[in-house]
């Protein structure tokens, strides 16, 4: 059936990106797979309501984000505390950044950032979305997106600066 083929194409096109997004947010393979599956499940039931087919990608990311927030609420992990970093305390990015992180460490650092700040930061890194598109996905103002990314990035850079390079840790 055409609808089946369309659904399969959509899954094959976006499931990797959605899984990476979910994994970067939760740090858990199982949660990321569940979030990805749930996102497509919702698409199969409600996707027809989308008026502009060009917005499919944004719709899928928005949906996964919503599902992620539901998990956070269930686990009562949503912190309201804003990150205290400000542009005034801007750290220098480590020159040997690639040597300082492995995926595990990176996910650990991301996990320490408040959800409200982590989500735009992850989209900033993994998706080639403009800030306007990130704002549309998260349904928050553009200025808020940029300020949250900036603050979260400062916190992440600080963690990276303070950690030992991977090679040093392995010795």
């Amino acid at each position: 059936m055409a609808a089946d083929l369309e659904f399969e194409n959509l899954v094959n096109l976006y499931y990797r990106d959605l899984y990476r997004f979910g994994f970067s947010l939760t740090g858990s393979e199982m949660d990321a797979a569940d979030l990805t599956q749930e996102t497509f499940y919702i698409w199969a039931n409600k996707g027809h309501q989308l008026k502009n087919p060009g917005n499919v990608k944004a719709w899928l990311f928005t949906t996964l984000h919503r599902e992620f927030l539901k998990i956070c609420r269930r686990q009562k992990r949503l912190a309201d505390e804003p990150i205290e970093e400000s542009a005034a305390s801007l750290p220098d990015p480590p020159a040997d950044c690639a040597n300082r992180i492995d995926s595990q460490t990176l996910l650990h650092f991301l996990g320490e950032i408040d959800e409200n700040f982590r989500v735009p930061l992850v989209l900033y890194y993994i998706e080639d979305m403009s800030y306007k598109e990130i704002a549309e996905v998260l349904m928050i103002p553009l200025g808020t997106v940029q300020s949250r990314i900036a603050r979260a990035k400062i916190q992440l850079l600080r963690c990276l600066t303070e950690t030992d390079p991977v090679q040093t840790r392995r010795k």
Binding site: H48, L90, I101, L106, Y124, I126, D128, K153
Partner: protein
């Protein structure tokens, strides 16, 4: 513009992807003439690339796409969705009515003992069968999923008669029947008929 101000702006700069964004234009221009800021910007974009590459390197489980496709619910347009909801409501109402009558009769000590019969036929997801006449192996995955989720399950015998399959009052048998969705099985149980609506309280299931 000062170096500190340019850094604050360029903190969000990712590289070529942001070249078209006017908010970075002036700061980028300033960085070209400031060696310290130029070095900072190089480190900053290289750090962005390193983090992006680590995150983009995350690979989903190999079977995830197939799992999603396999468990896809039946896509419905709003019109069909309304019909489905109506059909589901009718089936559920009938089930509740039957169950209520059964309880009421038991309380009154007028238990209408059903006759034990054996029915051979295809296990159906009643909701989709009634709404769309969906049955057969091509709909097995969807039927299995719907039955597993608790939607009413039935059996259609070789003469085309359909029975609603139930467990003991208060016990669902959906979990046991889900794996037989769209398959031919033999079910032994007690038949009850009310208002032309046939129900089979399952006692034994055998795969044909």
């Amino acid at each position: 513009m000062k170096t500190k101000q340019a850094k604050e702006i360029l903190l969000l700069y990712r590289g070529p992807i942001d070249d078209g964004d006017p908010q970075f234009g002036e700061a980028l221009e300033y960085a070209r003439g400031d060696p310290e800021l130029k070095r900072w910007l190089r480190d900053q974009t290289s750090c962005y690339d390193a983090i992006r590459s680590k995150l983009r390197g995350i690979e989903p489980p190999r079977d995830l796409a197939q799992k999603i496709i396999r468990h896809r619910p039946i896509p419905l347009n709003p019109e069909r969705n309304r019909i489905l909801q109506l059909a589901a409501a009718i089936v559920v109402s009938a089930g509740i009515t039957a169950a209520s009558l059964s309880i009421w009769q038991r309380e009154k000590h007028f238990i209408a003992q059903g006759q034990e019969i054996t029915v051979k036929g295809e296990v159906l997801d009643m909701t989709c069968y009634i709404a769309y006449n969906m049955s057969g192996p091509e709909n097995a995955a969807d039927a299995r999923e719907c039955i597993r989720k608790g939607l009413p399950v039935g059996i259609k015998d070789e003469n085309g008669k359909v029975y609603l399959l139930t467990g003991e009052p208060g016990h669902s048998i959906n979990a046991e029947l889900a794996d037989y969705a769209a398959q031919i099985v033999t079910v032994r149980g007690k038949e009850s008929v009310r208002d032309g609506f046939a129900q089979l309280q399952v006692e034994e299931i055998k795969k044909f």
